[in-house]
Symmetry: C2
Subunit: 257 residues, 2 copies
């Protein structure tokens, strides 16, 4: 069984934002299912769990050590790697491989003291890498740090693209994906429509452009900030068919039943 | 009313440690009150809350923005500052002052993107700084990064020393404290007795030496690792009078009733 679990669907500020009384933040305080933690997911396959980013701080509670096969990092911003800091001090002899873009700086002292994590040589973009249960292809994104999206080819030809953090898509990445139409796209959409676009993330306008460009059957928006949640709550606007907001804890069977 | 709330009493690995099945880690999994998060505390005074370190990741849930008067950082290791990363993106106009040792590096990009936090010029050791409700004195410690302990003089002459992370005490710090006998000492004790001492933290032997040197009425051990908890659970050993293990969530009235 293949399943994607959206561990977090929020931006670095998360929802609710500390000290904010906007309608989305107030709602998230009273309806915990509306909260958004740092964007990240767990890919459950017969072989175990692959974490894509590690923004949650309670990963030790959620996942037994033995189940984690590997970690894929999109980039080294704190909200995507912070959960590794306490985990690294596990005293287990095994090492968990971490795949990543080429970022010599990493985050704080993670490279210096990796603990149980074994940082692998940087992934090569557009070079498929086969694991037991899926094939992974790293896809460059437009962000303020070296950042990869990931195309995950599951058995049976089901393809999932995880594309955050990014504003728009580099042309090569767009063309690569368009030639391999993923059935499911998980896509950065941090802000409501705005001009100019945010510097490092999609607003809704850019996210919907990417959805149309890729022709995916289903696009789930993630890395959502409180302003997008508020905007959707106060505008009479409906997302187009095939596009939806992700929510923390959401589980997606791949392929769907 | 003055009250100290021990937000966390654990080492960087926390208790339980990921993937560990020692007696202390197994106990903490079934008895949540035995868990130990990153060592940190909240000082509650009539003026509001002073955070001493920020290792917890749910500070936004625990403290309303308006209640936080300031943050005191002992040093910039991740387990002491990680909680600031999500908080900094609050969009409030007010700035929260952060007091700290002289560490030009800080942690990751905190100095570059401080958000709502206003990093103050480094504190000068042994120079009392008066706030509305207490006087603060920074005391150098022995650690792998520039690190301060803090002497907190509350109204009425009640003095609390927070001394973590450290192995032993620099002589000047010891002499300064011994001349001002704190009634309450919160003290790094990461490990059971061992030779040689750990490089950057007290073991129980060094912690008890400091307790005797300072002549404090009450010493509460913190920054506790799972090996110390396990050792105490399996040895027939009793801590000497006046010394106790801290526990997460413990509240200490200052002075006691």
């Amino acid at each position: 069984m293949f399943e994607i679990e959206l561990l977090g669907t929020g931006s670095a500020a998360q929802v609710p934002v500390w000290g904010c009384d906007c309608i989305a933040c107030e709602r998230a305080r009273v309806e915990p299912q509306r909260r958004r933690h740092s964007a990240s997911l767990a890919l459950h396959t017969p072989d175990g769990v692959t974490l894509v980013d590690a923004g949650l701080m309670d990963l030790a509670e959620r996942f037994r050590f033995e189940t984690i096969r590997r970690v894929l990092l999109t980039h080294f911003h704190m909200d995507h790697v912070q959960g590794l800091f306490p985990l690294r001090w596990s005293e287990r002899a095994e090492r968990i491989p971490v795949y990543r873009p080429d970022d010599p700086q990493g985050c704080d002292d993670l490279y210096k003291y990796p603990g149980v994590f074994a940082f692998q040589p940087p992934l090569q973009p557009f070079s498929p890498l086969a694991f037991d249960d899926f094939t992974l292809t790293a896809l460059p994104l437009h962000h303020s740090r070296p950042t990869f999206g990931y195309l995950i080819d599951l058995a049976g030809g089901y393809r999932v693209a995880y594309l955050t953090d990014t504003v728009g898509l580099p042309e090569e990445t767009r063309a690569y994906l368009a030639a391999r139409t993923p059935q499911l796209v998980l896509l950065d959409c941090s802000e409501p429509p705005r001009e100019p676009a945010p510097r490092n993330h999609n607003d809704l306008t850019r996210a919907l452009q990417i959805h149309r460009q890729l022709g995916a059957g289903r696009t789930i928006l993630t890395h959502i900030g409180h302003r997008l949640d508020s905007w959707l709550l106060t505008q009479s606007y409906e997302l187009p068919a095939g596009v939806e907001l992700g929510r923390d804890g959401q589980r997606l069977r791949c392929p769907p039943c």
